[in-house]
Symmetry: C2
Subunit: 339 residues, 2 copies
Amino acid sequence: MSGKTTIYDIAKALNITAATVSRALNDNPKISQSTRKLVLETANKMNYKQNKLALALRSGKSNNVGVIVPRINTNFFASVIRGIEEGLHPEGYQVIICQTHEDEDREVENVNTLLNAQVDGIFMSISNLPKENNHYIERVIQKNIPLIFFDRKKEMKNVSSVTIDDYLASYQTTQHLIEQGCEKIAYFSGDRSLEIYEDRYRGYEQALLDNNIPINEDYIISIKSNVVEGRDAVEKLLTLENPPNAIFSTSDFAALGAIQKLKERGIKIPEDFCVFGFGNEPFTKFMELSISTIDQSPLEMGKMAAQVFLDKINNKKSESKVVLLPKLLIRQSSTRIIT
Amino acid sequence: MSGKTTIYDIAKALNITAATVSRALNDNPKISQSTRKLVLETANKMNYKQNKLALALRSGKSNNVGVIVPRINTNFFASVIRGIEEGLHPEGYQVIICQTHEDEDREVENVNTLLNAQVDGIFMSISNLPKENNHYIERVIQKNIPLIFFDRKKEMKNVSSVTIDDYLASYQTTQHLIEQGCEKIAYFSGDRSLEIYEDRYRGYEQALLDNNIPINEDYIISIKSNVVEGRDAVEKLLTLENPPNAIFSTSDFAALGAIQKLKERGIKIPEDFCVFGFGNEPFTKFMELSISTIDQSPLEMGKMAAQVFLDKINNKKSESKVVLLPKLLIRQSSTRIIT
DNA sequence: CTGTTAGCGCCTTCAT
DNA sequence: ATGAAGGCGCTAACAG
């Protein structure tokens, strides 16, 4: 009883053939009610469980999908994965996770691994640069395996994507800061060779232009998403002859670092200085001085990505480019004027 | 070229048999260097990739492990999963994630799904109550599939576990609060039918006893892990004739809620009141008033769990009960006396 | 309605 | 050193 029961065991016990057992188990119409009942009962009695591996090999469908992210333990990625899992679980899919640690080689390796594992689809937030070798991605497309980018996407044919409107988010945020009376808005940028960061930058730029505010290159600082870089960036900004009076940081962590440093320098937020983050990390809400930020709806993004996958699988849509609306969460760190 | 290349394709191209190809690919000693080289080259040329599914079916090893958690998008669970993934990736294992949403039926379902998927091991932080039906867990053990509990474990034979010493964490924390001059320590408890919460409670209790402080039942409040429950609990405590002057919350979120409410009531922390959390959620460090808490080393916990699994697979140890040391992070919310 | 046959892709005896 | 054959567990033709 400890070993695994197969349909052959059931067949033997019932003096019928495995095919019949299989049919009974799969609700095949051409089978008598009596044998079906019998099979179901014995299967249950013998504690039979279908071997998905055998099914997968036979059908060519593993019922697994892969998710490739830089790392799993950040609120954003964990939430997207949660969304994907919740969207796919009802359909019988399991989620396999892979981390790249922002390493391009690792990303290629992960794609290969997932391909070898015969996953039915791949969800990915890319780590490598858009200009780099795309060969490993082409292979996914050639094999006709649905590929869905989320957040950090590459613009490619035959590839779906789910993102927020980063340009809009950035534009609206910049506009908001201007409306708060800040015209000297510094900008903390991520790596602009990634589309999302390029889009965000363009939103910032355009909003300034539309308000006849000249771009000040000194205000634009490239940072990594962590507290220390935010602190350092402020340090730099405050040495300028004409320092800014607001920061739009494309990272909540850097925004936090900025706020810490500004406070240490005795600068009052939001009275003297506004700060806006990006990503709606949980801590932004909990601070005594709550941090304004942009919510990317990661849970919905994941669910939407799952839906896009299902639509493709079911031949409803061959390719979708879904753009979700960003949600500006205007909190204390950027609220000077109460409207 | 788009379809999948199999060893048969390679065999055909080389006028040899699939068995030989298989041997060449698997570095089987009894094969000539020349054919091996030839096979490897053609395999590469034809872009051959081993079908793990077929291998899994044949070998009975899927090279997948399953992880079952209440939810993935919390820092703790996401970090443990990350640790597991990192520990197992070098060994060629993939991680499949399942969420229970704290639902017992879902947990049973997840175990069954993973079993059907022929995973080589299961990592689990349980959602159901220890006294409940364990039948689904017994099946895992019977099938001789390594089962590793982490954090929320059940004490069972043949099952490994990786936890922190919750009793010690709790004892030390209580002791610390007493040393800060707080003798009226309220305690926010999780569901004590889970071992970790029972252990934590005992640590609290014992520390009080050892310091000759009587247990005050009014100070012991059962909460769920969120901000609102922390606020409500404080509300209750403050109506007591003899309110406490410290809170030890087994949830960081509840600790945060408590702090919010205490501040609203004009109570000064830590001067008039100390608060200690549990879990080292990222926000605890970032608050203007940083929150003292206990770090559970989730990343190491995951890596250790991975190691325990590997030890079992490799017949080094049949069963391990690993207990990690908790790390008290004494921060502002509980620091009255600077030593 | 049920049995027979075959094959998904791989590896591993057993021969040769 | 290589070939032939069988089987992991399942289902989908094809018969009857």
